[in-house]
């Protein structure tokens, strides 16, 4: 069988040449007459080291990266197949501090196994949760999830168990589980990693949810920007069905659960749950007014669990290891772990799964190593395009739902986008409005019109026209949007705008345009 070499096929790894590296390794092995078994794993999430090549040695897996196809002959020369030293060597993968210092529960298997190897999935603890759930009363499954303290990882932070309980209590015979995989926030990629790198975990979580609430059908709504995730999820669903973990009799429970994949079509708003449901029904992704909440009248008007990928993918661990185990991680009312995603202008961008409560500084400076450009840190946007910007003084903030809310920021989907000192915050405020203008579904006026007027007004500020008056106008507009919008698109667009104005007033203090010239 020869030496086992891992080259990730996560789309981020592919985007920097992983396929070329895999091909080069095979060619070089043939040329040298050595036997190599190439495995295509998910990514470990250390993206600055991608393509990260791992070799299975007697001392465990050792890592090399970032490897280019041109590096491959040199790696063979250095004896990398037996863990030989090389400029790109990082030693045992599990000892790389970035990885070693994490608390990986949901991402424990990430990058370790081949994504569609069901046997490897099971050998690394997969399906234990589903098998347990199959023998439990639905109420007991819901209770376990409630006790774990799991809250919605999509951004809203609503307790998952409570949502499930509401759906479970509805008398309607037809219920649905919908997974929101429309991961549109800039700075986030954790959902994509799960779907590409550990798809069975998400499917297992959805099947458990189905058993818990009595739903027989589920949909995964995946954004079209993620073709690899779509393909991998479809293949994984087929394998799970063939193995009896989906279909008429889920894991011997006697209960049915069928799963379908649906593609999004480039609309950010479809990450909003009611808009996603409209889209799943084949309609324009227009936000629905609430009530009724989806748990009572969701997809096709039936009771529906809508959960984010990360919420559902956390469930197998909770069932397998118990609510108390999961509860043990975290602080206050933020229990368990969060998949933080370090992105943008950051030296060591990637995925960091840690218990809630570490500081932003530990993430940005500790794990992230500061900016990629080497220039001073200026700001980070937390929680996607609708999240707040923070400054230096806020780096010691604890990363949990409550601490962030108290600091007028939010966790969102866990994305952290770092900017160096070259950023113009007035331009970022303008962009927040522009993005809202492009992506608003148009249903409510504060969002549809507010975004346009907001952009125009910031443009006046940028041009130095009646700055103080226009700043007051933007503040006023933000209040209207916050209070008067139907959903988070219009309701939270003020968050990046107001935080930028509050923390970086100097960027808004524009001199009037040189009209004299």
């Amino acid at each position: 069988m020869g030496v086992v070499v891992y080259v990730p096929k996560d789309s981020a790894s592919l985007s920097v040449g992983a396929d070329g590296v895999a091909a080069a390794i095979q060619l070089e092995a043939v040329a040298r007459g050595v036997e190599v078994t190439l495995k295509r794993n998910g990514s470990r999430g250390l993206f600055w080291l991608e393509p990260l090549v791992e070799v299975e040695t007697t001392e465990g897996r050792v890592a090399y990266g970032p490897v280019s196809a041109a590096d491959v002959p040199g790696l063979f020369e250095a004896g990398f197949l037996s863990g030989g030293d090389h400029a790109l060597a990082h030693g045992p993968t599990d000892s790389i501090p970035y990885l070693k210092n994490q608390e990986r529960l949901t991402f424990a298997r990430m990058g370790v196994i081949e994504p569609l190897d069901l046997r490897a999935y099971q050998a690394t603890g997969g399906l234990t949760g589903l098998m347990k759930a199959a023998g439990m009363a639905p109420e007991a499954i819901v209770a376990e999830v409630t006790e774990s303290g799991l809250r919605g990882r999509g951004g809203a932070g609503f307790p998952t168990g409570i949502k499930w309980k509401t759906v479970g209590e509805q008398p309607e015979p037809q219920k649905y589980i919908c997974c929101n995989a429309d991961e549109g926030d800039s700075g986030t990629f954790a959902d994509r990693m799960i779907m590409e790198g550990d798809p069975f975990a998400l499917i297992e979580g959805m099947a458990i949810a189905g058993l818990a609430v009595g739903a027989t059908e589920g949909y995964v709504y995946i954004r079209s920007e993620y073709p690899h995730a779509i393909a991998t999820m479809k293949a994984a669903i087929g394998l799970m069905r063939a193995a009896g973990y989906l279909g008429a009799d889920v894991a011997g429970s006697g209960k049915a659960f069928e799963l379908h994949v649906r593609r999004g079509a480039g609309a950010y708003i479809c990450g909003e749950e009611s808009s996603m449901l409209e889209s799943l029904e084949g309609k324009r992704g227009m936000v629905r007014a609430k009530p009724p909440i989806p748990a009572i009248a969701g997809l096709f008007g039936k009771p529906t669990v809508v959960n984010n990928v990360l919420s559902l993918a956390a469930v197998p661990t909770i069932l397998a290891k118990g609510a108390a185990f999961y509860q043990d991680f975290g602080v206050g009312r933020s229990r368990g772990t969060q998949a933080f995603q370090l992105a943008g202008n950051i030296k060591h961008g990637g995925l960091v799964e840690k218990a809630f409560g570490l500081t932003l500084r530990e993430l940005v400076e500790g794990f992230g190593g500061g900016t990629a450009t080497g220039r001073p840190f200026r700001t980070a946007q937390l929680g996607g395009p609708l999240g707040a910007y923070v400054d230096d003084d806020m780096l010691d903030i604890e990363m949990d739902y409550e601490s962030l809310a108290a600091a007028k920021a939010m966790l969102g989907h866990g994305g952290i986008v770092v900017f160096d000192d070259s950023v113009d915050m007035a331009q970022m405020a303008r962009f927040a409005f522009e993005f809202c203008e492009i992506e608003s579904c148009g249903k409510c006026t504060p969002c549809r019109v507010g975004a346009v007027r907001g952009k125009e007004t910031v443009e006046k500020i940028l041009a130095g026209r009646e700055v103080a008056k226009n700043i007051a106008l933007v503040e006023d507009l933000c209040e209207v949007m916050t209070d008067g919008s139907l959903c988070a698109m219009g309701g939270l667009t003020p968050m990046p705008v107001l935080s930028a104005m509050r923390l970086f007033p100097e960027d808004f203090d524009r001199a009037p345009a040189q009209a004299a010239e």
Binding site: F189, E225, R263, G282, K283, Q341, G344, G349, V417
Partner: protein, 171 residues
Amino acid sequence: MAMTRQNAAPISGGDPDPVTEAVDLICGRYGDRPDALIEMFHDLQDGLGHVPETALKPIAKRLNLSRAEVHGVLSFYHDFHTKPVGRVVVKVCRAEACQSMGALPLIAQICDRLGVGLGSTSAGGSVTVEPVYCLGNCALAPAATVGGVLHGRVDAERVAALVTEMTGEAG
């Protein structure tokens, strides 16, 4: 409502046109389920390069929707083109994470090198450049797709080279 559609005349007396043929094939694939409309648009665009206006009527007929409803869905989603696009489509991310790594000047450089404005197609129809908001490659920003293939840490030179490779023309 359905009454008016029953009167819809066949497109022509002879062979069905290729668009109607594609619509029949694709709608059939999804059992004419209206909730699969977006999937149908994707399949049509994958096959024809865009979703022509002439597809709306036959789709509406098969799904028992009004043409306005079908048009409404088509026009809502950024992914769908109703006019032909370039042989190679370049999508460059201009969301925050990519902006933090210089996406805006990058987009200007790419457009400059390819001789095309953002959101439009080059004169010869070889390349279309479009903005996109997040490709999920935010730790390897700036990101772009060329002909549907994702690339990380891109610069204008690399994008232009990839386009040339795919079109066989100098950028």
